[in-house]
């Protein structure tokens, strides 16, 4: 546990600092970090504190949420294909967020935006669990995921197309692929409380998920209340995915790639994997967000494009491996 956690923490901090020093305005790294720490009331401090800092913080929050919820769902369903983006939870959260914005709830109700996204994510998770069943076979999981993703994607497009605002329709891409460009501290404050609560809840599942690797009966015998475990998982996932999707859009594959890579390093123990995946997710999203700024700085390349390019081949590989189970 100690060694991977240490490395992942160092990597997260390193990438966080690099993310802070990268941007279209050409500023030296020391100058920019100095302006971040010391407020000299110059525009530079403004740029650092209001543009780059929230972006880097959100990358950490979003990544940790995706990695953690992916690891938790995979632990519960004992299926490496469960991932919030792939099985439609992120898509359902995006629908909730879009509804909140287009109906004006986001502007009039405090925390209306994250709460509606949370509600969307909640419906998504409940549908998945209801359709896939407690032992979530790969086939039903993937089919249910496709159905929920398609439905929420279509409804999101419909709502955006019906908007009186001509820009709304062009934002379908943002909600499907996600981006951290030009987010502000306001967005950090919107997401942070939900991520902290949801993240804490999910991390508390470690012992239960460890027991579950021995099978449901064994877990019950060890005193794990499965219905409670399931409820906590659903609420925790909805919390973190709802809040992060509301501010950054639906970013796929992070929850698939990160636990897959880290699983061997932590001895396949779900409780350790939860911590490691939270850190690993932060690393992956920070790296992806650095990549979009280096590859096409002027084009606002969507984060989900990069994560999908990394994640989709792995997804294919996993399907290939589990194909005997798929039948």
């Amino acid at each position: 546990m100690a060694r991977p956690a240490l490395w992942l923490s160092l990597l997260t901090v390193g990438l966080f600092v690099i993310a802070l020093t990268l941007g279209p305005a050409q500023i030296g790294p020391f100058e920019s970090l100095g302006a971040l720490i010391v407020d000299d009331s110059s525009p530079l401090t403004m740029v650092m504190r209001e543009i780059r800092l929230p972006r880097a913080i959100l990358a950490v929050l979003v990544g940790a949420s995706l990695g953690l919820s992916g690891a938790a769902m995979q632990g519960y369903l004992r299926n490496p294909l469960a991932e919030p983006g792939l099985i439609g939870v992120s898509g359902a959260a995006a629908l909730g967020a879009v509804l909140a914005i287009q109906t004006g709830v986001a502007a009039t109700v405090t925390l209306g935006l994250p709460l509606m996204a949370l509600a969307g994510a909640l419906i998504g998770v409940l549908l998945i669990l209801a359709l896939a069943g407690p032992r979530g076979s790969s086939l039903t999981l993937i089919l249910a995921g496709i159905a929920i993703s398609a439905l929420s994607g279509a409804l999101t497009s419909l709502v955006l197309n019906l908007s009186p605002n001509p820009f709304a329709a062009s934002e379908i891409m943002f909600w499907m692929m996600g981006s951290l460009a030009d987010r502000s501290m306001t967005h950090v404050w919107i997401a942070l409380p939900f991520v902290l609560v949801g993240g804490g809840v999910l991390l508390s599942l470690g012992r239960g998920l460890d027991a579950l690797t021995l099978g449901e009966d064994a877990a019950s015998a060890m005193g794990i209340r499965l219905t409670r475990l399931r409820l906590v998982l659903v609420l925790g996932t909805a919390c973190v995915i709802g809040a992060t999707t509301a501010v950054a859009g639906a970013i796929g594959f992070v929850g698939l790639v990160v636990p897959h890579i880290l699983r061997p390093l932590v001895g396949a123990r779900p409780s350790r994997l939860l911590w490691a995946s939270a850190l690993g997710g932060a690393v992956m999203v920070l790296a992806a967000d650095i990549a979009v700024r280096l590859i096409l700085p002027e084009r606002d390349l969507k984060l989900g494009v990069v994560t999908a390019l990394v994640g989709a081949p792995l997804f294919l590989h996993l399907i290939y491996k589990t194909r005997s189970q798929l039948g």
Binding site: A25, P43, N165, E298
Partner: protein
Amino acid sequence: MLRACAGPFVIAATVAVALPAMSQDMPERPERVVSVNLCTDQLAMMLAAEGQLISVSDVALDPQVSAMTEEAQKYRINYALAEDIYLMQPDLVIAGSYSAQATLDMLERLGIPVARFAPAYSLAEVRDRMAQMGDLLGQQEAADAMIADFDARLAALRAEVDERPTAALYYANGYTSGDKTLSGEILAAAGFENIAGTLGFPSFGRIPLEVLALAQPDALVTSRPYPGASRSEAILDHPVVEALREGRADASFSDKDWVCGTPYVLRAIESLRPLRNALTKEP
């Protein structure tokens, strides 16, 4: 689609006017003209004789982008769809060069002449477009009078200035317009120095928020938000943009008068006057 056209790409797409690409034989003096583009709608309404123009596009009714919503109500409204337009049996259809190509091709196949107007990217081109609309409608005299009036008013507005405060145009999604655009020329004519030029944006482009914040323009001219909400426009409320507005001359909007190459651009230039005077303390 029309609405979308008038929105995000308002500057690029609907500042339409232009070298009409003659597809088929144009009638000398058309009697039943249909316009399907916001900018040609307005020019046609200004120049057409009584009864000559029979229909304008629905966008002409949108107060967000149309400077002539009241006049537009007197006309039959079209939605730039071939079926709808063909049934009006026009002898000329006037479109923007960015109008839906499939619709225009269909009309041409059905034997209706279509004139395509390209956007006006400068004040000089606004003049040209008025002349071209006059030629197209057989209303050369009215067009000449309109151009003479435009020239006189523009000359009066374009006072020589010693001091040019800096300004930036900032639209949804972080887009800006440089000097080689109609909006850029409006800004220059009103006595501002457009920072987009010095930052490397001669025409249209996305200016990163960081770059804008560091450039610290004296004035910021933003687009007026549409009803409903969008993430694209949320950037106009970003704390950094708000800080740029703060303590500076009143937030000004580029709106319907800026959209098209029509004499209304003069009103846009005029509306910037008080802002410039406040910044330079000139009378």
